[in-house]
């Protein structure tokens, strides 16, 4: 038997990412960062290797696949407090922010992180630093610079491109730089001068991005908040839709049954990004509870209250209609800090998704959307040994995911608050 490090985990309750409900009394054997076997302890002998680490998980805990966040911005700080201008201008500071953000997410149980937009070469620098062993980070899937129209959403960090040929060229540039997928801004967003209810690209422009991505075996992911944007993304064959709000041209939210039906029938996945909006509402509610709001804040509170209620309702309807929803925080943006994907999952439950579905949306379904389900997202032989242990049963209450006891990344134990390890010498 090879002399690598073997880890054996015995757990009473396992969510394997395949079946929604928890399974009981399983043994997982890990070697060289890969799950080698999983099954009843009676049927799996301890490997005959000199150093076998045995993790005995207590019955009160749950073992599950490492979580996948399909949507983050690692270089942004998610605190709502702008960095000092000199720091904001310094790519080095943004890179250090990305390292810190990635680490925070990892220790909170997120073992795969999608970076959906960072300026310059920062995302690629981070990937390179991980490869060189300078940084410990979750598995990274990066877009590099998002493709956006001239002056479009996130142009300050984006690759501005216009027209199908311009977009094709921009996509090729991103692929050359090392992008794992193509991110394109199909509508406006939070960037001043852009509006979430206005599409920013024509269908043929979106199609150019999709074609370029697909021809190179990559996904095309769109930021899209307007219903008309959804129609165009569906036409163009976008693989993942971020936000998926149903903004009409008059800026009102109105669920569009027909577009929702088309989404459900298409291969497209939707990442609803609830808490990046809910968090801002929550901050206003907290403020209102302790002090008097200004007139502008009071108006904003009213606006956000109505809009967030509408958003939750729409997400609930998408879930009911069978649209493939995946978990993604948008962490880094606005007031969404890293290390808290759980709140997003709780919000998905508030919208009507069963806790078991929310867990799948952050594990196997997310992996399927990203086409990495042959590596991560479930616990099965041949999969990466990315897994977490939490106190409690997240299939009943996803909030249990806050009680992280251990995080294993590629077989390496990167967090262990439970004191689970015992070394056995059975040679």
């Amino acid at each position: 038997m090879p002399g690598g490090v073997w880890t054996v985990i015995d757990a009473d309750r396992i969510v394997d990412g395949i079946s929604p409900n928890a399974r009981t009394t399983l043994r997982i054997v890990i070697e060289a960062g890969i799950i080698r076997s999983i099954g009843s302890p009676a049927g799996i002998e301890l490997p005959a290797a000199p150093d076998v680490r045995l993790l005995q998980i207590p019955a009160t805990s749950t073992l599950l696949p490492g979580l996948i966040d399909t949507h983050t911005h690692l270089t942004m700080n998610g605190s709502g407090i702008p960095r000092p201008p000199a720091a904001e201008a310094n790519d080095g500071i943004l890179l250090m922010q990305a390292v810190a953000s990635g680490r925070k997410h990892l220790l909170s149980g997120v073992t795969t992180v999608v970076d959906a937009g960072a300026r310059g070469s920062l995302a690629f620098n981070l990937v390179e630093a991980v490869r060189l062993g300078l940084v410990q980070a979750p598995q990274l899937i990066v877009a590099g610079r998002p493709i956006t129209r001239t002056g479009g959403h996130a142009w300050h960090m984006g690759e501005e491109a216009d027209g199908p040929e311009g977009i094709r060229r921009a996509a090729r540039q991103m692929l050359k730089d090392g992008a794992d997928f193509i991110k394109i801004m199909a509508t406006g967003g939070g960037t001043p001068g852009t509006y979430p209810h206005r599409p920013s690209y024509r269908t043929e422009e979106l199609r150019a991005a999709v074609e370029e991505a697909h021809e190179n075996g990559k996904l095309a992911v769109a930021h899209c908040s307007a219903t008309e944007g959804h129609r165009r993304c569906l036409e163009a064959g976008i693989d993942i839709l971020y936000h998926g709000h149903f903004y009409e041209p008059d800026a009102s939210l109105r669920f569009d049954e027909e577009v929702a039906r088309r989404l459900a029938d298409s291969p497209t996945y939707v990442n609803p990004t609830l808490w990046v909006n809910g968090g801002r509402l929550h901050a206003l509610q907290v403020k209102a509870a302790t002090e008097k709001l200004s007139d502008d804040e009071a108006w904003m509170l009213k606006q956000r209250t109505a809009r967030y209620a509408g958003q939750r309702e729409n997400v609930g309807r998408l879930a009911q209609m069978g649209v493939k929803l995946i978990a993604g925080t948008d962490a880094g943006f606005a007031l969404y800090p890293f290390g808290d994907i759980v709140t997003e999952l709780e919000e998905m439950v508030v919208c009507g998704m069963p806790a078991t579905d929310a867990l799948l949306a952050a594990t196997r379904i997310a992996a399927e959307a990203l086409r990495i389900n042959n590596q991560v997202g479930s616990l099965a032989p041949g999969m990466n040994a990315d897994l977490i242990v939490v106190d409690g049963d997240p299939t009943r209450d996803v909030g249990a995911l806050r009680n992280v006891q251990a995080v294993v990344l590629g077989g390496e134990i990167v967090r262990n608050d439970g004191g689970f390890i015992a070394t056995v010498n059975n040679v």
């Binding site: 960095r83 000199a86 720091a87 310094n90 790519d91 080095g92 500071i93 890179l95 250090m96 922010q97 390292v99 810190a100 070469s121 920062l122 620098n125 390179e128 630093a129 060189l132 300078l134 940084v135 134990i413 990167v414 967090r415 262990n416």
Partner: protein, 417 residues
């Protein structure tokens, strides 16, 4: 100021500026600063609910965090040639620096001096630490080392020639945030430069030292050749790195008169022993397992001889009263971060008492860098940067490999799983 008080009691306190420990001792810390240090029973202690008392177990020592006067944070110290590593862009150098700084901190070095990095990388690292993006040691930075066109470490980006240009370069570095001015006074390990050749004239060196002193900073010289030592003494440098005593013919030859001048001037010397010694060790380790080929055998013999000469020269400097300060040169060559202790062991090997080596790596090192008012010793008004060591490093320097606790500004550094 934070009203949080911490009282630490221990059988032995090593204060960093003197070799005699305080036994049994007590340290009183408020917030990030030391308020009182003394013998137990003779020191007034704060009382009340906001006082945390830490009793250090028997056989252990509390001492100041280590101060390394000489590192290169942007370099890996794993033998990768600089020609290869420097092809990386600043982003990678920054993350290498962040990793190195953290590794050094976790080995007990709470103040890390960078004496040669590229561009603004180390200033960015300090900013990132300040913003709380990474927990790092205190940094004492030169930014970029000043070197002549094509001189040692020219690739780090501060080439300057003539006294005016050198003054201006020093001013630029001070503007960017340099805490010290580092100058390459002779060649070194950079291709096309030679350790036994001076690389700047005395007036050029003086321009750098004067600019440093005019701004309250220390001037530090990389200098291997004896003629270079003469020039940096004339230029009134504060600290000399390497100090090998190379003659113009490339041979090592100790010069009494120059050593006397170093001692009389009170200039501190960082002898950088193990950055050379490591090559002898590596070849000897290889020889223990396999037969060396003729070339390797020749290199081993030459390096052993040269390293023997270097150790002898540094021993003579110590005998003549020259004050040594500890600096690893980590990052360069094959000297990895996290191992200042090996350098200290080599200093003990050439005849320094262990207690002196501790001073050379704490109080005296901090004074040499001009930061002795902040760190390097356990005394009132200093930052509470300290180590709990299992054993007595003043008797056995290797005890510094057994660190139980690292405190940086009164906060215990989490060392992870």
């Amino acid at each position: 100021m934070s009203s949080r008080w911490t009282v630490i009691t221990a059988d032995r306190l090593v204060i960093g500026t003197e070799t005699e420990p305080i036994e049994p001792g007590v340290i009183v810390i408020q917030g990030d600063e030391i308020q009182a240090v003394g013998k137990q029973g003779e020191t007034e202690l704060p009382a009340g609910p906001s006082v945390e008392t830490i009793e250090i177990g028997p056989g252990k020592t509390v001492q100041p965090g280590l101060v390394d006067v000489h590192t290169h944070l942007v370099m890996p110290g794993d033998g990768t040639p600089y020609q290869t590593f420097m092809q990386h862009d600043d982003a990678i150098l920054l993350l290498q620096a962040a990793k190195n700084a953290r590794t050094h901190l976790l080995s007990g070095v709470t103040t890390v001096t960078d004496t040669g990095a590229r561009g603004g990388v180390t200033f960015t690292l300090r900013e990132a630490i300040k913003l709380g993006l990474i927990e790092g040691p205190r940094l004492v930075l030169c930014g970029r080392p000043i070197t002549r066109t094509g001189g040692h470490c020219w690739f780090l980006g501060a080439e300057a020639d003539g006294s005016d240009e050198i003054s201006r370069t020093a001013r630029e570095l001070l503007k960017e945030g340099a805490d010290i001015i580092k100058v390459m006074a002779t060649g070194g390990g950079t291709a096309g430069t030679y350790p036994y050749r001076p690389s700047l004239r005395t007036d050029e060196l003086a321009a750098a030292a004067d600019e440093a002193h005019a701004n309250g900073k220390k001037a530090i010289a990389h200098v291997s050749a004896t003629e270079g030592i003469r020039r940096v003494l004339d230029a009134r440098f504060d600290v000399i790195f390497h100090s090998h005593f190379y003659e113009a013919d490339g041979k090592l030859s100790f010069q009494e008169d120059v050593a006397r001048r170093v001692a009389d001037a009170g200039v501190q010397v960082n002898p950088t022993l193990y950055v050379n010694g490591v090559y002898v060790d590596l070849l000897q380790q290889k020889a223990a397992h396999e037969v060396l080929d003729a070339q390797e055998q020749a290199i081993l013999e030459a390096r052993t001889k040269r390293y023997g000469g270097q150790l002898e020269n540094v021993g003579k400097l110590v005998e003549r009263g020259v004050k040594l300060v500890a600096g690893s040169d980590a990052g360069w060559g094959r000297y990895p971060f996290g191992d200042l202790v090996t350098e200290l062991q080599e200093m003990v090997r050439i005849g320094m008492p262990a207690a002196e080596a501790v001073v050379a790596a704490t109080g005296r090192a901090a004074d040499a860098l001009g930061v002795g008012h902040l760190v390097g010793s356990l005394s009132p008004g200093k930052k509470a940067d300290l180590l709990v060591v299992d054993g007595d490093p003043t008797k056995d320097i290797a005890a510094l490999r057994r660190i139980d606790r690292i405190m940086l500004g009164g906060q215990t550094v989490e060392r992870g799983c």
